[in-house]
C-alpha cells in the first residue's frame, strides 16, 4: 500500500520581499515519481530546497516522513538522498574517499564499491574530484545521493551534463529504484526524461503552481490552454509543454552584427 512520503500545503517563500514560491500544495507517495517542471526562475529549486530543509519557508506546511524537514533535518536525512543542482565537493578529495565519507554518515550504507561499478566510475576511484569531467562529477553526485539507501530521492537536474547513452541508463536505473518503493522528486528541464519517468507533474510558472497531477491529466490541462488548431493527439510532452510555456524572445542577428 502506498504511503504519503512528502506532504506540502500552501508553501510560500520569498527572497527580500520577492515572492519566489506562492501557495504550492502537492504530495508524493512511496514508489511515485514527481517531476517538477517550469522555466528558469519559476521556483522549482526553491520548492525542493524547502522540502530538503535547506530553506525555511515563510508560510505553509511541509511534512517529510511526517516530520518538518527544517526542524528535524538530521532525522529526515536518514531516509532522504539528495542530488543538488550546484553543490560541489572538495577538489583535493579522491572519489573513493568521498564515497567512504558519505557512507560513514549512515547506519546501513549501500555498497558504494558496487555503485561505483554501476555508475562507470570504478576506474576513477583513485582520481581527485578536480580531475573528473562534468559528466563524471554528475554521476558521482547521483551515486552519493544513493549511498544512504534512501526512501525518498530528490534529484535536481538529474541528467544535466550526461551523454545520451548514460542518460538512458539512468532512466532505467531510476525506474528500478522506483519499483523498489522509493519516492522520487525530480527537477528537470528535459521533458523526454519527464515523459519516461514521471507519474505526476508539478508545473510552476513564476513561482505559482499551475498544475499538479498525472501525465494524462497534464495533457488535458495543456489541451485546455491552447487552441484546437495547435493541439495534436500524439504530441510529445516536450512539444506540448513548449506550446503552453510563456514565450521568450529569441536571439536575432540584429544585436550581433
Amino acid at each position: 500500500m502506498s504511503q504519503v512520503i512528502v506532504q506540502v500545503e500552501d508553501l510560500n517563500l520569498s527572497y527580500k520581499g520577492l515572492h519566489a514560491v506562492q501557495n504550492i500544495s502537492f504530495s508524493v507517495e512511496s514508489g511515485e515519481v514527481l517531476a517538477v517542471i517550469g522555466q528558469n526562475g519559476s521556483g522549482k529549486t526553491s520548492t525542493v530546497e524547502c522540502i530538503e530543509g535547506l530553506r525555511k519557508p515563510d508560510g505553509g506546511r511541509i511534512q517529510v516522513f511526517g516530520k518538518n524537514p527544517w526542524l528535524h533535518r538530521n532525522e529526515v536525512y536518514k531516509e532522504v538522498g539528495v542530488q543538488l543542482q550546484e553543490a560541489e565537493y572538495p577538489l583535493k578529495i579522491r572519489v573513493e574517499e568521498q564515497c567512504r565519507l558519505f557512507a560513514g554518515f549512515y547506519e546501513r550504507p549501500a555498497d558504494w564499491n558496487l555503485l561505483l561499478k554501476q555508475m562507470g566510475l570504478d576506474d576513477k576511484r583513485k582520481c581527485l574530484i578536480s580531475k573528473l569531467s562534468g559528466g563524471e562529477r554528475q554521476r558521482l553526485s547521483i551515486l552519493l545521493s544513493l549511498i544512504g539507501r534512501p526512501k525518498l530521492l530528490i534529484l535536481d537536474e538529474l541528467t544535466t551534463g550526461l551523454d545520451p547513452e548514460v542518460r538512458q541508463n539512468m532512466w532505467i536505473s531510476f525506474e528500478n529504484i522506483r519499483k523498489g518503493g522509493v519516492a522520487i522528486i525530480m527537477v528537470s528541464h528535459y521533458l523526454d526524461e519527464v515523459e519516461a519517468l514521471a507519474d505526476k507533474i508539478l508545473y510552476l510558472e513564476k513561482g505559482k503552481q499551475e498544475f499538479w497531477g498525472t501525465q494524462q491529466e497534464f495533457r488535458e490541462y495543456a489541451k485546455g490552454r491552447i487552441s484546437d488548431d495547435e493541439y495534436e493527439e500524439n504530441l510529445s510532452l516536450e512539444k506540448l509543454y513548449l506550446k503552453i510555456a510563456p514565450k521568450t524572445t529569441g536571439l536575432t542577428m540584429e544585436g550581433i552584427l
Binding site: 530546497e49 530538503e52 530543509g53 535547506l54 530553506r55 533535518r73 538530521n74 532525522e75 536525512y77 536518514k78 532522504v80 539528495v82 543538488l84 550546484e86 553543490a87 560541489e88 565537493y89 572538495p90 583535493k92 578529495i93 574517499e97 567512504r100 565519507l101 558519505f102 560513514g104 554518515f105 549512515y106 544512504g148
Partner: protein, 250 residues
Amino acid sequence: MKGFLVICKIQLRLFTRDFFSFFFTLVFPVLMLLLFGGIFGNTPVYDGAAIRMMDISVPAYAVMITGVTGLMSMPLTLSGYKEKKIYKRFDATPVGKKSIMLAQVLVNLVMTLIGISILIIAGMLLYHIQIKGTFLSICFGVLFSIAAMFSMGFLFTAIGQDSRSTTLLCYLCYFIMLFLSGATMPDMMFPDSIKRISDCLPMTYAVDLMQGVFSGDSLKQHGMELLILGSLTLICIIAGAILYRRKDWT
C-alpha cells in the same frame, strides 16, 4: 560519532594535501629556526642579556604557527567550502554542516599542536633551547594563543561576503601581525613608532605570553595578556556566531 570521525580523518588528509597549510604549519617555522639559528645561534639577544635568541624565537614561531592555522588555513578552507556550496551538500546529509566546521577546527588544532611540537623538538636538538616554564603554564599559553587566532579567523569568515574578501582580511591581518608583533623578530629591535603599532596587535600579546611562560614566568605575571587574549576570543566568537546565523547558506 562514526560520521564525525570519518570527516575528521578525511579533513586531516586534505590538510596534508594542501601545500600552503602543510608547508607553513609544519615546515616553514623549522626553516625559520634554521635560518635565524644559523645567523645568530642561541646567543644572548644583546651583550650581557640573560635572554638567548633561540629561547625566545621558538615560542614566537609557535605563535606564528597558530596564526597560520587560525588565520589562514581554517578560515580560507571554510570560506571556500561556503562559496562552493560544500556546506550546503553536507547540510543535505544526517551530519549537517556543523560537523564539518567542527572537524576543520579540530584538524587545524591538532596540526597546530604537531607543528609546535616539531618546532620545540628541533629547537631542543639543534640549539639546546632552555624551557624553564611548567608544562601547565605552557599549555595555557598555547591554548590562549590558539583560541585568540582561531576565533579571529572565525570572525573573518563570518564578516567576509565571499572567499576573496575573507582571504584579503585574513592575509592583511596575518602579515601585519606576523611582522609587527615580534613573531618573526624580537620586538625589542623595533623603533618606538613600530612598537606603538605592535602594542595594538593581538599577536603581540600572544608572543609576550608564550615567551614569558617558556622562560619560566608564572601565569599571574601575564594576567594582562591572558585578559586581552581571552576577551578577544570571547568577542570574536560571539560576534562571529551572530554574523554566521545571518548568513545565507543556500
